[in-house]
């Protein structure tokens, strides 16, 4: 892994390198399988992020903003030049996991305290399941508690089916966790675990909504 170029891959992907840098990086890519693979992972992250459902925020901030605009206060902002953000590979993967979980709805707890400013050594995929699953587990546990309280509103056959399917997902989560324990920096396994947990969140949310509608 060539750290010099790994650091620039996200800028390359965003089209932010100048022509000379881009040419040099492409020349490097033609001879470095590992950088090509990393670039492919970054592209996957971007593609997944683009594919996520666009959900409206629960809280509409506009009334507050409009009110302040209407108050007529003028605030002088310090002059600043345009800032450019770039992220390391682990940070992008972390962000991708966060987005996958967020798309499940109700999983904001999982990423509430996500530390995206934590710069880890580049070139090492330092995102591990231990660093993010705790809050997701808590969100799942909350929804499961709600389901336990709601089960009496559902048909027993439906409850049985839901439980069986939650068990299927739990087995998948356990297997993904087991694989991650042996290969904690594996991007696929991290994303697969995140996606499987998202599926569980979505199922719990959906069943709870059905039960609530019958109250």
């Amino acid at each position: 892994m060539n750290d010099q170029w790994t650091d620039r891959l996200s800028e390359y992907l965003d089209g932010e390198l100048d022509a000379q840098e881009r040419g040099a990086l492409e020349a490097h890519l033609s001879g470095c399988a590992e950088c090509r693979a990393t670039l492919a992972e970054l592209r996957q992250v971007v593609a997944r992020a683009k594919g996520l459902e666009d959900r409206p925020p629960k809280t509409d901030l506009w009334p507050g903003v409009a009110e302040r605009i209407g108050s007529g206060k003028v605030v002088n902002l310090p002059a600043h030049r345009a800032r450019r953000f770039s992220f390391s590979v682990p940070q992008l993967i972390a962000a991708s996991i966060a987005l996958v979980l967020l798309s499940g709805g109700g999983a904001w707890l999982a990423v509430q305290r996500w530390n995206v400013t934590d710069r880890r050594p580049t070139g090492t995929l330092a995102v591990t399941s231990a660093s993010w699953t705790g809050h997701t587990d808590a969100a799942i546990a909350d929804l499961q508690d709600v389901l336990t309280r709601n089960e009496s509103r559902l048909d027993t056959a439906t409850v049985r089916v839901v439980r069986a399917n939650l068990a299927v997902i739990d087995r998948a989560i356990a297997e993904a966790r087991g694989a991650l324990a042996g290969d904690p920096s594996n991007t696929y396994l991290n994303l697969h675990l995140a996606d499987t947990m998202r599926r569980k969140l979505e199922l719990l949310r959906r069943i709870n909504a059905i039960a609530a509608a019958r109250s």
Binding site: A37, A40, V161, A179, L189
Partner: protein, 351 residues
């Protein structure tokens, strides 16, 4: 209008257990049906009229009203538990549909507009439709054919089948297979936890294709001449292509990326436990035809294994299969079919 419609329907229910009415609807009207248990069948026709036929028990009550531009059809009971009602409704082909049931099977045929169908227990089968098409069932197979638009199909405990569909496609189940054939799309997402994913369709330049399973094989077609960058990953399965792969990058264990043509489309194929089988479209079509022919005799799906050994099929195998799966499937199918047959017989003998 609401009062008129409701009044007309009440007076048009002279036969015990059956309601029939037909009325004109304004252009652009939509239909909303809510049925606790039974069936919702909707057909499209080229008239600006809605025809509602409902079969129900003596306690059953059918309410039809027009709220805004929406025709609302609702089943309820005069007393006690909700009545089981079988609806057969014919509507203008372009009418938007919102169909909801709890223990209801939903069938739609010959429509050309948006369709939303949701049920807890019961299959959903739709042919036709365009625009936003959303089909959700918890415990029922979901089938969609000959549709185009933004398609979102979801089941939990059964399989999903899409054929001859185009547009933006998302299909997801937990415990069942996802089969997509004859797809024309630049955006396809198909996933299951416990089941296989089959994709036979186009790969459009610049498109995105994501196929994912935890415990099942992925059988994905890649046409010759496709311009696609393919990322494949499996933790415990095998990679099984029927054509040579130009593997350009390998990252970590069992992860591969390769580019075909310009590589402008992106495809991800991932299965934790299952094999990843890359095939040409005609291979998948042939195998699906073969599978369909044999489906009545043998549900064991080895049809994508190119070294399928049929010697084991016979009395001994059937005996082993029954011994293995009877215990597993009995609890699943007994409640499903007991309810269905009880409903049919109750209706037949209640008159």
């Amino acid at each position: 209008m609401l009062t008129i419609l409701t009044a007309v329907l009440v007076s048009l229910a002279p036969l015990q257990g059956q309601t029939d009415t037909t009325f004109a609807v304004p252009a652009g009207a939509s239909l909303s049906v809510n049925n606790f248990g039974g069936a919702i069948v909707v057909h499209g026709w080229n008239q600006n009229r809605v025809k509602v036929h409902a079969e129900h028990g003596s306690r059953g009550r059918i309410e039809v009203s027009l709220v805004g531009s929406t025709v609302m059809v609702k089943a309820s009971s005069r007393q006690g538990a909700p009545s089981v009602v079988d609806f057969d409704i014919t509507v203008p082909q372009a009418m938007a549909l919102t169909l909801a049931g709890t223990y209801a099977e939903i069938t739609v045929d010959g429509m050309q507009g948006p369709i939303s169908a949701e049920t807890v227990e019961g299959a959903i089968e739709v042919r036709g439709g365009s625009g936003i098409i959303t089909l959700h069932s918890i415990q029922g197979t979901v089938t969609l054919a000959d549709a185009t638009g933004r398609i979102d199909v979801n089941s939990v405990n059964e399989e999903i089948k899409l054929s001859n569909v185009s547009g933006q496609i998302k299909a997801e189940t937990t415990n069942g297979d996802v089969t997509l054939t004859g797809v024309k799309s630049a955006s396809v997402e198909a996933a299951t936890i416990n089941g296989s994913v089959v994709y036979e369709g186009t790969i459009t330049d610049g498109g995105t294709y994501v196929f994912n399973s935890h415990n099942g094989d992925m059988i994905v077609s890649i046409p010759e001449g496709a311009n696609v960058t393919v990322s494949i990953a499996t933790a415990n399965g095998d990679i099984d292509p029927s054509f040579p792969l130009p593997l350009t990058a390998t990252h970590g264990k069992r992860r591969y990326t390769f580019k075909l043509g310009s590589g402008s489309a992106r495809m991800e194929v991932e299965s934790f436990q299952g094999d990843i089988k890359l095939r040409r479209p005609e291979e998948i079509r042939d195998r699906l035809q073969h599978k369909n022919k044999n489906n009545n005799h043998n549900e064991h799906d080895d049809s994508f294994d190119f070294h399928f050994d049929s010697n084991g099929v016979g009395a001994a195998w059937v005996r082993d299969y029954a011994a293995t799966y009877a215990r597993e499937y009995a609890p699943k199918y007994a409640p499903l079919y007991a309810r269905r047959y009880a409903r049919a017989y109750a209706r037949a003998y209640s008159h």
